[in-house]
Amino acid sequence: MSPLFIIGFGLIILGTVATAWPSPKDYITRLINLELPAFGILLVMLSFDETLALLTFIAVTSISTFLFVRVIEKREGTP
């Protein structure tokens, strides 16, 4: 078991808790906390040498972040 894996799944658990109960409970905090488990899974993939999946994951995560930011902005915006 590599240290990368241990740090990775530690981060996933931590990140899950942080996302499940974000401290000021608003959309942006939750969105930012969401990056924690995402980073954890990156480390897990790295420890299994799944680099290609890792790369795609980074791209897809940034896209989904864009989607969320767009919705949140619309929601907070004025008609």
């Binding site: 040498d49 680099t51 290609l52 790369l55």
Partner: protein, 151 residues
Amino acid sequence: MIIRKLSGILSNFTNLSRVYAVMVIIVVIAGIASIPSLDYQGDRLYPKTIDRDSPLDPYDRGGIPFESTVVLAEYPENSPYLGYITAYLTPLSLALAAATPHMGTTIVAHPGGIIDEILYATRGLDTVVETTILFVGFAVAAHLFRRREDE
């Protein structure tokens, strides 16, 4: 009465995801006890061989272009040219491999390499479905987006 209460919850569809979450939690909690008895046998198919010194690390599966290499597929008899895609590298990736030992990911991401073998050849139907899902998801978004443009 408990039945009335339950049907009250079920009939409101905004509770749908909540009911589902409860069911998943029940199954997972019941399943935790069985985890230690699970046997790991995942390396029966497409196992990894890591060669840290190879310039193709972590995707070096051996073979030279236009020759085949050993790939453990589920039904080798269904793919007569198994291993050819894995062994193939584009000229650009060959040049990269010769020049630098740090671009393994780039190299395998060119058409050719084990992942492409799985995604395009042995489990190609998966990729067909996957691209279709992307297409449908996109079509929904585009349809709704464009409709409000028209209005």
